[in-house]
Each structure stands twice: as C-alpha cells, then as structure tokens.
C-alpha cells in the first residue's frame, strides 16, 4: 500500500491556515483527521455511501466555520468530532435515511468493522489497541453507544437498563483507562 506522503501541521498552524482558506490547510486537515472522523461517522451511519457524504459535509462545515472555532474551548479535534457526530446523527435520524435502511440492524456492526480496519502501521498508536482491549465490556459498551451510535447518556441508560449515575461513572472510568496511555 503506497500511501502518498501526508501533510502534517501543528494545530496552531493548521487553524490559522484554515482561517485564510489556504489550499494546504484543506489538505492537511483532511490528511490529519479524515480517517479518525470517518471512523466515527461510519460507525454511526453504518453505510459507506452515507458515511462518505457525511464526511464531505463535515469538512465543508469545518472549512466554512473555522472562524467560529476558538482554542479556548478545547482541542480542534473535539470541535470537529462534535460536528461530525452531530451531522452523522442528523443523517441517521433524517427521513431519507430511515427509509433507505428500514430493515437494517445497526447493532451488530462495530465488531465487524474492527476486524477489517486499521491495517496501516501507526507507531504512535502502538500499544493503544492493547489498552482498549483492557477496557471492561460494560465500560466499552457505554463508550461505544455514546461515541459511535449517537446515543445520549440518558438513552444509553435506558438501553442498558442501568441508572444514569452508573453510566457517568463507567464512562469516566473508561476514559480514565484510556488516559493511562499518556501517563
């Protein structure tokens, strides 16, 4: 798999280039974040064509509203992640999408994707897979419901039949577990 060299910029450089609508910013933005955002979008919408459409909408929105992003409010990725999740969730809740996929079950595909994905060698992620494996199933299911299925924590509590407080605690411990990677 001969990948083209990818453009990487620091977050600050990227943001200021984005605001100037430079071509290099668009390329860097795509190369740095498309795979992660696409992974999230795909897991929410569960359909390649739709996921590609949503990814495009996400980048258009990021591109056009880069001026409204402020570093005070957090990482660029968090901002983009929320744009991506919102557009993806809007899409699966839209009438068109519901008609298109009336009979498809959304539940059983997360594992399937995991088996067929991320064959690219990424040194920075070395060991993270193992770390994710160490998440307890009940932690991972909550994280996946909220992260990849567009559930609110209230909906997740209903789905799993556990109290709201427990949902929040488990979500926190799951993320604490992931944070060990940086310590």
């Amino acid at each position: 798999m001969a990948k083209k060299h990818k453009i990487n910029l620091s977050e600050d450089e990227l943001i200021s280039a984005l605001r100037r609508h430079e071509k290099v910013a668009a390329e860097a933005l795509y190369d740095m974040y498309s795979a992660s955002l696409y992974g999230v979008i795909f897991r929410i919408v569960n359909d390649t064509t739709t996921a590609e459409d949503v990814l495009q909408e996400v980048f258009v929105k990021i591109w056009n509203s880069a001026g409204s992003y402020s570093a005070d409010k957090g990482r660029l990725f968090t901002w983009m992640l929320n744009i991506a999740r919102n557009l993806a969730i809007d899409k699966i809740r839209s009438k068109d999408f519901k008609n298109q996929f009336k009979n498809q079950e959304l539940e059983n595909n997360v594992g399937y994707i995991d088996l067929h994905n991320s064959t690219v060698y990424k040194p920075e992620l070395l060991g993270v897979k193992d770390l994710v494996e160490t998440l307890r199933p009940e932690q991972k299911s909550i994280l996946d419901l909220i992260y990849f299925k567009g559930y609110t924590h209230t909906e997740a509590a209903e789905e799993l039949g556990i109290p709201l407080g427990t949902i929040k605690t488990r979500l926190r411990t799951a993320i604490l577990q992931l944070r060990k990677h940086f310590n």
């Binding site: 083209k4 071509k23 668009a26 795509y30 498309s34 795979a35 992660s36 955002l37 696409y38 992974g39 999230v40 897991r43 739709t50 590609e52 459409d53 990814l55 495009q56 909408e57 980048f59 258009v60 591109w63 056009n64 005070d72 957090g74 990482r75 990725f77 968090t78 992640l81 929320n82 999740r85 919102n86 068109d96 298109q100 994707i113 995991d114 994905n117 991320s118 690219v120 990424k122 920075e124 992620l125 993270v128 897979k129 994710v132 994280l143 909220i146 992260y147 990849f148 609110t152 924590h153 949902i167 929040k168 605690t169 979500l171 926190r172 993320i175 992931l178 944070r179 990677h181 940086f182």
Partner: protein
C-alpha cells in the same frame, strides 16, 4: 477544592467532550474551565483520550474520497483551478448528497403536474363556456317554441269556435253590404245563444285612420244596439271575432265611429243588412 474534585468526578466533563450536553450545560463547563485550571487540565486529558479512541478506530479513506472532499472545499471557495491540475489526476467528481438527488426529480414532477393541471383547468373552462352558450341558445329556442305553441293552441281554440259556429244550426249568416261600393261583412248570429260573430276573413271594409273604428249595431225594434267595435288590428284576432251578445235583431249595420265607439250611430251605415 473538594467541590472541584467532585465536579470533575461527576463525569460531566466526559459528556462535554462527547457532545452530550445541552447548550446551557456546555456554557457552564466552559465557565468552570476558565475559572479552574484543574478543570481545564482534566478537560484536555479527556479530549486527548477521546481523540485517541477515535484514532484507534480510524478507517482510512480512499484517494477518490479525498479528491472529492478537497474539490468540494475548493469549489466552495469559488476557485477550483487549484485542484483541477497537478497530481489530482481525476476530473472533478460531481457531488450529490442523498437528499440532493431526490429533490430535483420531485420538483420536476410537480412542475409537470402543475402544468398539466393548468392545462386541464383551461380545457375545462373552455368546455364550460361552450356548453353554457349552447344551453343559452337551447333555452331561447325553448321560449320561442313555447310562444309558438301558445299561439297555435289559441289559434286552435279559435278555429274550434269557428267550426262550431258553422256546425251549430242555430246560427244564421247575414251578409252586410254597402249601398254603392263593394264593401261587405259577414255576421253570424244565433238568437238562441245570443251570440254574434264577425267573419274577419271575408270582411271587406276600407282601412280606418287612427282615430276611427268600425262599430257593429243591431237594430232591435227600430233602435240601434251597440254590439262592440270591430278591431281588425287586435292581436290573435281569429277568423271569427266574437261581439257583444244580441237577443233580438231585425237588422245589422256597421258605422264609422270615433275611436272607442259611440252610444248611438253618428254616421250613416257603411254596410247594412236586414233580416
């Protein structure tokens, strides 16, 4: 400090990063992050972890999608020259969203449907105009025929009457004649029925002016009795015109009188006949 720790441990920051808070709650978290460095640091760690989780689950996209997305960004900018040359070998891929494809077809359908309905409406209007015109003329014809019918039935009535005069043996026909001229008038009289009729078809009297009319008299016991005006111009006047009843008469005479008639004859009789 305990409060901050409890705030951090409540899990609200995780929900913030995952976009699972209302606008108010978000603003609240942002205010807390500005106020307390611990909260800000915690948020940053959570964001990093969230990004890590996405990185672990990332899916590489193909070059086609990359070109498509980048083209759409550049096209949005209003200048796509940058992206149609160089190492992006593929021509610009047209972008269709799922919803975007559905709308044009439906709008085209509605456009045609609208045009078709308009056309139909015009046709209906035209047809209605023609039909109403025909109805109008049919109604006019109907009125004409009704009038004709009335006229005919009146005529038939008069003719019946006329025939009955001829059939009735009690009627006698008296021909009134002028002294010199060819003036003449036939009167049918039934003493039994006291009926007097004037035969208008055989009447030969000079035309009168506007102010004069012919008046029919019966001479009974030497005295003239008014039997009415002979009005040739009266509408629907049939061949036989019924006059005032007369029981006795030795003679009949017609004089020219001022319009409306006189109580007694004022001119010498034009035509006369004695029984």
């Amino acid at each position: 400090m305990e409060d901050i720790k409890a705030y951090i441990e409540s899990g609200v920051l995780e929900l913030y990063v995952l976009g699972d808070l209302s606008a108010e709650e978000r603003a609240d978290v942002e205010a807390m992050a500005l106020k307390y460095p611990e909260v800000k640091a915690e948020l940053q760690d959570i964001e990093q972890a969230a990004q890590l989780y996405a990185d672990v689950h990332d899916i590489e996209t193909g070059d086609d999608l990359r070109n498509r997305v980048l083209n759409s960004l550049m096209t949005n900018l209003g200048d796509d020259r940058n992206f149609t040359k160089g190492h992006y070998g593929q021509p610009e891929t047209p972008v269709h969203s799922i919803t975007g494809q559905a709308t044009p077809t439906t709008s085209v359908f509605y456009k045609y449907a609208f045009a078709a309905s308009l056309l139909l409406l015009c046709l209906c209007g035209g047809a209605l105009a023609i039909v109403s015109k025909r109805l109008q003329s049919a109604n006019q014809q109907l009125v004409t025929y009704q009038l004709q019918n009335q006229k005919f039935s009146k005529q038939v009535k008069y003719m019946d009457q006329e025939i009955s005069v001829f059939r009735d043996p009690s009627f006698q026909f008296i021909k009134l004649k002028g002294n010199t001229s060819s003036n003449s008038l036939t009167v049918a009289w039934s003493p039994k029925r006291k009926k007097v009729m004037v035969d208008m078809t055989s009447a030969a009297l000079p035309a009168t002016d506007k102010n004069h009319q012919y008046q029919l008299w019966a001479i009974a016991n030497g005295k003239p009795v008014d039997l009415g005006m002979i009005d040739a111009t009266k509408a629907d006047s049939a061949d036989m015109m019924e006059m005032k009843p007369a029981e006795q008469a030795q003679a009949f005479a017609v004089t020219l009188e001022p319009k409306g008639g006189s109580a007694k004859p004022t001119t010498p009789p034009l035509v006369i006949a004695s029984l």
